[in-house]
Symmetry: C2
Subunit: 228 residues, 2 copies
C-alpha cells in the first residue's frame, strides 16, 4: 500500500542544510500497523509528510498502491489525499471558526456525492473517541486532548486505506490513549487499513505488528541510540 525507496529530504542549502531524512526504505502492507519511534528532531514528521504526499522528497520515490506520487498530476495527488490517505497532524491543524463536527465533516465534501459517508459518520466517530459531547464546540473551546481526538476523527471520516498519525496520543492520558490505540488497531486488523504511527509513546509500540527506530533521518531496528 505504501512504499518508500531511497527517500531523502534535505532542508536548506550549503552550511545551513539539514538532512531530515537520509535514504529511507520502507514498505507497509494492507492490514499492517507499523510504529516508528525516535528522538525529537529525528525526522518522524518529515517522514510522514513525504509518505502522505504533503511534501516532496529531495530524492527517492514514494508509491501508494503501486503508483508513483511524483508522476501524478496535482489533481491526482489532491484526490489521493482526499480519498486514500487520512492524516493526523502533530499540531492538529483544525479550523478555529468551525465546530468540531464541521471540522470532521469537511473532508467528506471533497468526495463525489455518491461516495460520501453517511451524514451521521462525523458524529459517530467523535462519540467513539469520547468527544461526542463536544461536537458543537469550536477548537478554541476544547482541551488539547479533545482537539487531538477531533483531528483523528477527521482523518478517519473518508474511510481511507492509509492512515498516517503523527503523535496521536501526545496530549492524552493513559485511558484516552488506549481508546485511540484500540481504534487504530481495529482499523488495521478488522478493516484492513494500513496504519503508520510515529510516536514517542512506548506503550503504543507494544501493540504494533512492527516497530522501527528513526535516528538522524535513518531507519533501523529498535535498540536505542546507536542501536540495533
Amino acid at each position: 500500500v505504501l512504499e518508500l525507496e531511497g527517500v531523502s529530504k534535505v532542508y536548506g542549502h550549503g552550511e545551513a542544510a539539514v538532512a531530515a531524512l537520509d535514504g529511507i526504505d520502507l514498505e507497509l502492507a494492507r492490514g499492517e500497523l507499523l510504529v516508528i519511534m525516535g528522538p525529537s528532531g529525528s525526522g518522524k514528521t518529515t517522514l510522514l509528510q513525504v509518505a502522505g504526499a504533503l511534501s516532496s522528497p529531495t530524492s527517492g520515490t514514494v508509491r501508494v498502491d503501486g503508483d508513483r506520487i511524483d508522476r501524478m498530476s496535482r489533481r491526482e495527488v489532491a484526490r489521493l489525499r482526499a480519498e486514500r490517505i487520512g492524516f493526523v497532524f502533530q499540531a492538529f491543524n483544525l479550523l478555529s471558526n468551525l465546530s468540531a463536527e464541521s471540522n470532521v465533516r469537511l473532508p467528506t465534501m471533497l468526495l463525489p456525492r455518491r461516495r460520501r459517508p453517511d451524514d451521521r459518520r462525523p458524529r459517530e466517530l467523535l462519540e467513539e473517541l469520547g468527544v461526542g459531547n463536544r461536537a458543537r464546540h469550536r477548537p478554541g473551546q476544547l482541551s488539547g486532548g479533545q482537539q487531538q481526538r477531533v483531528a483523528l476523527a477527521r482523518a478517519l471520516v473518508n474511510d481511507p486505506a492509509l492512515i498516517l498519525a503523527d503523535e496521536p496520543t501526545g496530549n492524552l492520558d493513559s485511558r484516552s490513549g488506549e481508546q485511540v490505540l484500540e481504534l487504530l488497531e481495529r482499523m488495521a486488523r478488522a478493516r484492513g487499513k494500513s496504519v503508520l504511527i510515529v510516536t514517542h509513546d512506548e506503550r503504543i509500540a507494544g501493540q504494533a505488528d512492527r516497530v522501527l527506530w528513526l535516528q538522524d533521518g535513518r531507519l533501523g531496528r529498535p535498540g536505542g541510540p546507536g542501536g540495533a
Copy 2:
C-alpha cells in the same frame, strides 16, 4: 507564592455550561515542584490559565506572593506576567515569523532595561535544552519537540519566580523529556522557584515533591478515577 482559594471556572451558560474547575484550593511554596495529573478534559489547562492570570475565575481568589490578582490594575497584571510568571503553553504559542532565539528574547523587552537578562541568555537557554543549533530557525522549520523546548526557554528567560508548565514533555522522547524535567527540578531545588507542572506523563510524577489528581475540575490525591 501561589494560592488558589475556592476557585471555580464555568464556560458557557444554561444547558451548555461546562464547569471546567470546581472549588479548587491550592498552595504552592517557594522551591516546591508540584505536579498535577488528570484525564484529558479534566481542567488542567484551565487551572494553569487561572493561576497565571491569563483567565479570570468565575468565583474564588488567586494570590501571587500574597497579592490578589482580581484587585490589580491591568497594568499590574501585565507586569506580574512579564516579571514574575513564566508560562509554557500546551500549544507553544510561538510567533511564526520570528526565529527561535528572537521568540525567546521577546519577553525580555517587557522588562525595564536595567533588569533585563544578559544578551546571551536566550542562546544559553536554548543550548541547555538541546536546541541551540536551531536558534536561527523559525518555528515552522522546527520539529514539534524542538518548538516545545523553545517555548520552555521563552518561559524561563526573565527568571520568573513562578513557572507554570502545560504538558512540557508531551512532544518529547524520554531523553529530551528527562533533560526538561532536570532543568525544571533545578529551578525549584537550586534556584528556589515555584514550579507547577500539569501533565499526563507519569514519569514526571516520580520527581515531584507533591502530586495531585484533577478529575472533572476537582482536586484530590492520586488514586485514579474516583480515587483516594
